[in-house]
């Protein structure tokens, strides 16, 4: 049933919030280096799905294996989290720390790196997201787009094998969306395995290997971006695409 050696293997995943079933029997495999874009109406379970991958949400039944590690207990969850980086819609930077401290906290405290090494690594990733000159500022002094790029750099400092993006541009002013998407595309081109929940269809065409459309907690349709956009198979998917592409 599951191919071995994939970056992420999910099978029979179910998740309830009380009586409400947020995820219904999800099967999903993600190969190493594969870039997946998940879309769907709000409340469709797409965020819940990726939050299950690093156990920010606990699933109720089903199997999750990340980079060969099966999620069974706290120890495996910690091992999985150290392979998986995550970027949130609301950035979730630590507001009381400088940009540099935001980036070095994980490497120093969780990995025991020296301050000098952690700062050197942080500068490398700040350069990569093109804001090395903001290192000493507080998050609140940066624009939304810059904050989100810092959040990406903060995840990269843990050198994850897989990146999860939970609507990374939804909280941004329109003129800042592309600077964040450019950074994500850049990462994708470097072969990072990633799952991106987004409604940015231009980005999906540019960067995705595979599209996943979800609705009411189910995967309704998957396919290559070309197939997905040119010839959607299901009625619900057609409807959704016409709603978000008409602007």
């Amino acid at each position: 049933m599951t191919k071995t050696g994939d970056a992420i293997e999910i099978s029979g995943l179910n998740k309830w919030y009380g009586d409400y079933q947020a995820l219904k029997n999800i099967d999903l495999n993600v190969a190493h280096g594969e870039r997946i874009v998940v879309c769907g109406p709000s409340g469709s379970g797409k965020s819940t799905l990726i939050r299950c991958v690093n156990s920010l949400e606990e699933h109720d039944s089903g199997r999750i294996v990340v980079d060969g590690i099966e999620m069974i207990d706290n120890e495996s969850i910690n091992a999985i989290r150290s392979e998986v980086g995550m970027v949130f819609q609301q950035f979730n930077l630590f507001p009381h720390l400088s940009i540099m401290q935001n980036l070095t906290l994980g490497p120093m405290k969780a990995r025991g790196m020296s301050k000098a090494d952690a700062e050197e690594r942080a500068m490398r990733y700040l350069e990569r997201v093109r804001i090395p000159d903001q290192a000493h500022k507080k998050p609140s002094e940066l624009s939304g787009g810059q904050q989100q790029r810092v959040a990406i750099a903060r995840s990269l400092c843990m050198e994850p094998k897989i990146m999860l993006f939970d609507e990374p541009t939804s909280a941004l002013d329109p003129e800042m969306i592309s600077e964040v998407l450019d950074v994500i595309v850049d990462l994708a081109e470097d072969g990072m395995t990633m799952i991106v929940v987004t409604h940015e269809m231009g980005f999906a065409r540019r960067a995705a290997d595979r599209m996943i459309f979800m609705d009411h907690g189910e995967v309704i349709e998957t396919g290559t971006p070309t197939d997905f956009f040119e010839a959607p198979k299901t009625e619900r998917c057609k409807q959704f695409l016409s709603q978000i592409l008409q602007h």
Binding site: N54, L56, N78, R81, S82, V84, G85, M86, F88, Q90, N92, L93, F94, P95, H96, L105, G106, K109, A110, R111, K138, P139, S140, E141, A151, R154, S155, C157, M158
Partner: protein
């Protein structure tokens, strides 16, 4: 400006009292110009040391106990949460004075029956009582402060590999402390005022000294007026200090 006016008015009352006809006010009892009045004032003011020391130690203990109670109280595991809940509900329900009697007169007996032979003097009896009875409230203050820090902060900390202890220490508490400082300061003022109860078990602090002087001088009005002013000064100093601290901590951080 308002404060200065209030201060001037109270000085005026004081001075008017000094010169009034006997039978109404009798400020002579604490008139520093006479030897006995000067001695009486010194006797009363000497209580400051004990009141301050008692309150400060009790407040620090209360903050430490409160944190130790609050953290398990926020666990997702109800069996870890339960003892903390019981502690808070139980301690919060005991009036301060009965608890003080129990700790001072009862606790040494309990300890002795367990083979621990310690005597608890008035000072430590009062410290323990104030610390414990206040800790239930500080625990709730910590809880509300910590829970007010967005869930997203905890999640972000998890994704960069921090464990629970590290998340608290480096991410949540530094942010929570700014929000819980004002209510914690309130609790400290409350402790200072409640420390007056220590007088009933013989602790020589401000209130006890005032009581003793009243018994010998028969001037309750003047002596208790001064006693109230003593607490007022103490509380105002704390308020100013806390304002300063809040400004200092707030200025580091624009959000």
């Amino acid at each position: 400006m308002k404060l200065r006016t209030a201060f001037l008015i109270s000085c005026l009352i004081f001075l008017v009292g000094c010169n009034a006809t006997p039978g109404t006010w009798g400020w002579y009892v604490i008139d520093p110009r006479t030897q006995s009045g000067y001695n009486n004032i010194r006797f009363l003011l000497n209580g400051f040391g004990a009141t301050i020391l008692l309150s400060v130690i009790a407040a620090f203990l209360s903050m430490a106990i409160g944190l130790m109670v609050a953290l398990p109280g926020m666990s997702s595991n109800r069996w870890i949460r339960l003892p903390s809940r019981i502690y808070i509900e139980f301690v919060r329900a005991i009036p301060l004075l009965p608890m003080l009697f129990w700790v001072f007169y009862g606790l040494p007996v309990v300890l002795k029956s367990m083979g621990i032979n310690v005597s608890i003097d008035a000072f430590w009896g009062a410290v323990i009582t104030l610390a414990i009875s206040d800790s239930a409230f500080t625990a709730e203050i910590y809880r509300s402060g910590i829970q007010s820090i967005a869930k997203g902060q905890t999640e972000a900390a998890k994704t960069v590999g921090l464990n629970y202890r590290q998340t608290m220490r480096y991410v949540i508490l530094p942010q929570a402390i700014r929000r819980i400082l004002p209510p914690l300061a309130n609790q400290f003022i409350y402790i200072v005022k409640m420390s007056a109860f220590a007088s009933v078990i013989g602790m020589q602090e401000l209130t006890r000294r005032a009581n003793e002087l009243v018994v010998t001088e028969y001037r309750p009005l003047e002596i208790y007026t001064l006693l109230i002013l003593e607490y007022l000064v103490l509380v105002l100093i704390i308020s100013f200090f806390v304002r300063w601290l809040e400004r200092k901590m707030g200025s580091d951080e624009s959000r």
